[in-house]
Amino acid sequence: MFFNNHFSVLLVVLPLMAAPICVILRSSKASWLVALISNLVIVLLSLSLLSHVINGNVVRYELGGWAAPTGIEYYIDGINAILISVVSIISLATLVYSKQSIRKEIAQPRHYLFYAGWLLCLTGLLGILITGDAFNVFVFLEISSLSMYMLIALGRERRQALVAAFRYLILGSIGASFILLGIGFLYAATGTLNMSDIAERLPLVNGSRTVIVGFSFITIGLLIKTAMFPVFSWLPNAYQFAPSAVSSFLAGTATKVSLYIFLRFFYHVFGTDYSFGNLLLGNILLPLAVVGFFVMSVVAVFQTDIRRVLAYSSIAQIGYIFAAISMATEQGLTAGIIHIINHAFIKTALFISVGCILYRYGTANINQLGGIMKSMPWTCAAFIIAGLSLIGVPLTAGFVSKWYLISAAIDSGWWLIAAMILMSSLMAIIYIGRIVEVFCFKNSEAEGVAKVKEAPFSMLLPLWFLIIVSVYTGINGDVVVDLAKFSATQLLDNLPGLNNPVGNPL
């Protein structure tokens, strides 16, 4: 595929430039078109980047021609190239979907602001993924978070959406501030902000208390941002009350990008041996992760709003990913990355299908949706397939994830963890099965729902696109598995640093 080094910076510049254009245009349709076209270009760029990086190249782009570590550097290897593609594809799909869905949720005159916010959020997410500079991570994190708060506040149930956005703002800012503080400590210890540079200099100050403090602050900040088990409270409300397009986008990307920061910092910057060997990060994360995915799966069973079920399920899935990556083995890391990718597609598809139901019925309350399979067969079929994938039925993407998660746990000798993962899958059968049962059968003879039309084509198209992607990656699992394996080995090996661009095997 055609590739140019400047592509990397375009990924950030393009949405950043498109956002003010949307504001200038002030028209719903035109700004949608601008957003769509820029997003389409981003998808193409990201795929080109991926095909370049997957051959073992590492893209390093010096911003403004200033060489690192003086200047800011964009740094792209396997893991972020993959996630850039995932995020931009999901953004494209949800953007297509948003055109119809926000009609019922946001007043027409505000649409252009919605798209501008969307593009800014995309800028932030892509920026986090692309940059090789620790402070830049914070800046992009705040760009994406601020626009995300704004997007959430636009939600359909205006009142609760505002409160949800406010709570997310408080918690998200605390998380980001902790990350900022941690980065400050790292800078104090090493005198550089370039991540590869920090990685090279950290061994020189190994064991320094400054580094440990920075490490702890970054860990806690990221746990809040990823909505890891004890600090997840912002997530359910945000997912439930945000406009459906936003919650689909959020579910697929926001926490995944935070997870990427986690991988980048603890595997690359601090180094696997330091994070998991010296500081025993795995011992702290694993219990939290296991309790997290188990408890959250149980909580998901008792929710009445489908979006809330999916939100708690998301927290549980993050628990899976954390459990996998805290094993700090190649198997575990591969499993984690596979699940990051697969879950991004699955969860977005689930949220979009719930959005379609919301669009027609105006409610996602499980008690008011008896027998809607008849009215909306395509939407419900998509929900069922994605749900099966979440459970981990064979021939869906979820099966590949589960297979790897469990074999990684067994490989590390953690039989109990494997059993817990399976128990939590049983919970998934219950909470998905419960919804599917409601979709298929009327609640009672008296209370049938009104007959409505199937969701519009422009909403079904992205939905089924995601479903096909997740089924395809389930049948031909090697596509995702190979990518994940590649980036996992790259993260675990000593990555090419600043002074030795080739990288040295440990």
């Binding site: 402070f135 914070f138 800046v139 705040e142 009142r159 800012s173």
Partner: protein, 143 residues
């Protein structure tokens, strides 16, 4: 004791941050929460500012060689006379960005509070919660 006091700027950071953090947790008033957040972030700004400060360093402005600061420290360290001791400008620049972000966060938070006040008629978190749960109860009654 004296060693402790030597880190007075770090102590200040800790006190300011924790004060802000406490406000955010303990106060139900949304505006106070934002104030707390702002104080919390200010603590971090101080930390960065303190990080860049070098004892006896001047502001990092390029000066003509004539006007060197001939302080004893410089002479003693044997550095050529023309060197000037600067504070490290980088953390200060960084924190300018963070301050901007902080201002944006505060602005957005306040905007949300204005909206919340319009919808709920209150900016007390427990009031809002009460109104929401009442609303849900009403929905249940309708069913």
């Amino acid at each position: 004791m004296v060693e402790w006091l030597a880190f007075y700027n770090d102590w200040a950071v800790i006190v300011i941050m924790m004060a802000g953090f406490y406000i955010m947790i303990a106060r139900y008033n949304l505006v106070k929460k934002i104030i707390g957040l702002s104080i919390f972030q200010t603590g971090i700004f101080y930390f960065y500012v303190g990080l860049g400060k070098v004892d006896n360093g001047t502001a990092p402005i390029f000066l003509e060689p004539k006007v060197i600061d001939e302080s004893a420290a410089n002479v003693a360290s044997g550095i050529a006379e023309q060197t000037i001791l600067y504070s490290n400008p980088l953390p200060h620049v960084l924190i300018l960005t963070a301050i901007v972000v902080g201002v944006a966060t505060m602005a957005l938070g306040l905007a949300l509070i204005v909206r919340i006040y319009e919808k709920y008629g209150s900016i007390e978190e427990d009031d809002i919660q009460a109104i929401d749960s009442q609303f849900i109860c009403q929905l249940d009654d309708k069913k």
